[in-house]
Every structure is written in structure tokens, then in C-alpha cells.
């Protein structure tokens, strides 16, 4: 009986279906992705049953960190030509007597994460070379009654973009005193509708529970 000769060639796996599958997943992820912006403070939002999605445009977001710092962010408007961000900064600069150059305004427009820089340090922040220098300047927007820069940010954001809506993003452990201060400032500026950013959690109460 002749011996069966085994082939010496290493077993070969056809990778083509795997490539197909990966392509599909990759294309799906690329199309659905919205890049997550790195935030200056880590925030775990509380849960609620609300299902209204966060609007994409015309929002100003107040980020309240656990250590009581206040950060603010606003978008560029539904059309990039509107350039709300640099306009708001220019107005702020005018109020505090700071002249921002075109390069600085463009840098500010490109910054997508929330900012917590006092206005006097804004020039250093925009001209900073690397991220480390930038994060060290993020000390929170001053909200004291003597130097209430947050109120001015709100004022000019609403002046530039009248449709802007206030959104509050806080950590579950953020102290309520900070939240109350921010709400107070907003009310002072006649903003009384807020959106609170939450994560979805489903809770239902059933009929039997009520009828008992």
C-alpha cells in the first residue's frame, strides 16, 4: 500500500470573507461616528427617563465638574459660515478691552472642547503650543459676583446667536451650590428654559402598582 504523502505546505486560510466582514463594520462605524470631544473635566451624567435627543446646534453647554469648576461651550451654528464662536469671542474681547488677532479667532473656532479659561488668560490659551499648556490654563470660568465672566459669556452668546438654548451637563456628585449659582446667573440673564443632559434609563410604573 502506498503511503499517503502529506503536503508540506503550511495550511492556508482564505482571508477574503474576513476582509469583507471587516469592510462592512468599518464602513458602518465611519458613517455613524460622531467624534467624541475630549472634555476638560470628566463628568458622569445622571440618569433619567427622558428620550429627547440633544440638539446639534444652537446650544450653549455649561459643564459643571465635581470640584466646582464651571466650563462653557457653544457651537458654531447650523452653518459654518455663521462663525458664531469667533464672533462671541470678539464681543467678549471688546468688553474686556482685549484685541484678538485673526489667527487667535481662528484657533478659538477650531477648539471644540469646553473652555474654562478666564478671559485675561485667553490669549495665552489660544497661543499655547501643546495640550498640556492648555489644560493647565483651564481653571474654570469665574462666577463670583465681583468678576462674573460667565454672565458676560451668556450675554454675548445670546446677543450673537439669539436662538441659543442653555444646556447643563453636570456630574451626579457636583455640589448643588455650584448648580444653583449657575442657574441664578442664567435667570438673571432671563434664561429660564434649560436642558439637563442625562443618560437614558428605562423605568416604568405599571397600572397594578397605582391601583393597589
Amino acid at each position: 500500500m502506498p503511503k499517503i504523502k502529506l503536503p508540506t505546505k503550511s495550511p492556508h486560510i482564505d482571508m477574503t470573507p474576513m476582509v469583507d466582514l471587516f469592510s462592512v463594520v468599518l464602513i458602518f462605524l465611519m458613517l455613524t461616528t460622531t467624534m467624541r470631544q475630549p472634555e476638560p473635566a470628566n463628568v458622569d451624567t445622571p440618569f433619567s427617563i427622558s428620550e429627547t435627543p440633544l440638539p446639534d446646534f444652537n446650544t450653549m453647554t455649561f459643564l459643571l465638574s465635581t470640584d466646582g469648576k464651571v466650563f462653557m461651550n457653544f457651537d458654531n451654528g447650523p452653518d459654518t459660515l455663521l462663525k458664531y464662536r469667533p464672533k462671541i469671542l470678539a464681543e467678549m474681547g471688546k468688553h474686556y478691552g482685549i484685541e484678538f488677532t485673526d489667527v487667535e479667532l481662528r484657533n478659538f473656532e477650531r477648539q471644540k472642547s469646553s473652555l474654562g479659561v478666564p478671559i485675561l488668560q485667553m490669549k495665552d490659551f489660544l497661543n499655547a503650543k501643546d495640550n498640556n499648556a492648555r489644560t493647565s490654563l483651564q481653571t474654570g470660568i469665574p462666577i463670583d459676583s465681583t468678576d462674573n465672566q460667565l454672565a458676560n459669556w451668556i450675554l454675548y452668546a445670546r446677543k450673537v446667536n439669539p436662538n441659543i438654548k442653555a444646556t447643563i451637563k453636570g456630574d451626579s456628585d457636583t455640589g448643588f451650590d455650584v448648580v444653583e449659582k449657575v442657574l441664578d446667573i442664567l435667570q438673571e440673564k432671563n434664561v429660564s428654559r434649560f436642558n439637563l443632559i442625562t443618560s437614558l434609563e428605562s423605568t416604568k410604573i405599571n397600572l397594578e402598582e397605582i391601583q393597589q
Binding site: F22, L26, T34, F47, S48, S50, S172, S192, L196
Partner: protein, 225 residues
């Protein structure tokens, strides 16, 4: 995982019939990297928002009259320290406040669980909550053919017509946290409370929380007479 090509020795080389083979392994490697990158940077679920409307600030308190609400329907909820919630019904009368020491109503303590504050609210809001729950059930089972938007409007109409449920006043003690605030507003939505609002805590309510939680007051409130 490179493929080892073993050359066949000698013999005539037969023209192979099948298509030339391309090694896909590097492509798979690349795609793996890209997929991992996209998966880590993607924020899949969009953030949800909960809307809250605060009463407008009264700029001129002398000319304003406080809104009249029925004491019997009022429920005060005070967010306390350490995730505790305190409730008391009605309001404190002026003569009780003027007494020395002020004659304050007792607070009942509860928490954010389904057995805690939700039970208190549902007990008070039974009529309306049942109406809403029955309406929702009928919509789901198809008894009432209605679109989702109109269902929302119908529910808010039910809430507007309601005149039996509690009027909830939410107040926060200074040591409460933001999570408590969102939780209590969420509880309002879950229980279908028709009228609730968030107001500033009064000095005597701070005192009530401090006695109930056993805290010695650190600094006296500014509106303490």
C-alpha cells in the same frame, strides 16, 4: 502570519487554472486597527436631555404677589445631604414662624428608591397617574389609534385638566448634589406630576433639615431674620 511558499522541485510547471492568490493578511491587520480606532472614538448613543423651566426671576418683589396655592394640595420636597429626601405637606403659617422657638412641622425622611419618594408621589397623584397609565396602555394595545406626537399632547392635556394631584415644591438644601436634583425631576416625570416647580429653600426649611439630619448649622443663612 506570512505564508511560506514552498517551491515544487522539478517537473513541468502546469499553468494553474485558478486566479492568482493575493495575501489578505496585512489588509486584515490594517482594518482591525481602523475598526478599533473608530469603536473607541465613537459616541454611539446621543446624549439625552431633560427640559426644565424655572420661574422668571422677580426683579421687583414689592409689587409682586405670591401665587395663591391650596395648602392642602401642596407637597414640599427638600433634597437633603447624603442622598436623603425630606417631605412635609402644606406650608408653615406665619404665626408658627413668629413663635420662639419657631413651631415647625416635622419632616418625614425618605430616599430615591422605588419604595421611597416614588411611593409618596404616586399615593398623592393616584388619579392622574392612573389616567395616564390607562391612556398609555390603550395606545399601545391599539384601542386608541393615535400618533406618538398627539399622544404626548393628549397626556399634557390630561395633566392640564387635573385638579386633584399635588402641587410639588422642590427645594434643595445646600449640601444636596446635582444627581439628586435630576433624580427628583425625573421622579416627577415618572409619576406624571402635573404641577411642580423648583424654588429657593427658606431659612426655616434649612433649619428643619438641620434638625432632622442632626447637623449643627455652620453659617446662618443670609435671609435669616
Amino acid at each position: 502570519m506570512a505564508e511560506i511558499i514552498v517551491e515544487e522541485k522539478g517537473g513541468k510547471k502546469k499553468a494553474k487554472k485558478h486566479a492568482p492568490h493575493i495575501d489578505m493578511t496585512p489588509m486584515v491587520d490594517l482594518m482591525c486597527l481602523l475598526i478599533v480606532f473608530f469603536m473607541l472614538t465613537t459616541a454611539f448613543s446621543k446624549a439625552k436631555v431633560m427640559e426644565i423651566i424655572l420661574p422668571e426671576k422677580i426683579k421687583d418683589p414689592a409689587n409682586q404677589q405670591a401665587p395663591k396655592i391650596l395648602g392642602s394640595r401642596t407637597l414640599n420636597i427638600i433634597l437633603g445631604p447624603d442622598n436623603k429626601v425630606y417631605t412635609y405637606p402644606g406650608s408653615v403659617k406665619a404665626e408658627d414662624l413668629a413663635a420662639v422657638p419657631p413651631n415647625l412641622p416635622p419632616l418625614s425622611e425618605t430616599d430615591f428608591s422605588a419604595e421611597g419618594i416614588r411611593k409618596v408621589l404616586l399615593d398623592k397623584n393616584r388619579m392622574l397617574a392612573r389616567k395616564i397609565a390607562e391612556f398609555n396602555r390603550d395606545v399601545i394595545s391599539g384601542k386608541i389609534p393615535i400618533s406618538q406626537d398627539s399622544a404626548k399632547n393628549a397626556i399634557s392635556a390630561l395633566k392640564n385638566d387635573d385638579d386633584t394631584g399635588p402641587i410639588v415644591l422642590i427645594k434643595a438644601y445646600k449640601k444636596a448634589n446635582y444627581g439628586n436634583f435630576v433624580d427628583i425631576l425625573d421622579e416627577m416625570n415618572i409619576c406624571g406630576i402635573a404641577s411642580y416647580m423648583f424654588t429657593k429653600i427658606a431659612w426655616y426649611e434649612e433649619k428643619m433639615v438641620e434638625t432632622a439630619a442632626g447637623i449643627t448649622p455652620v453659617a446662618t443663612s443670609s435671609n435669616n431674620p
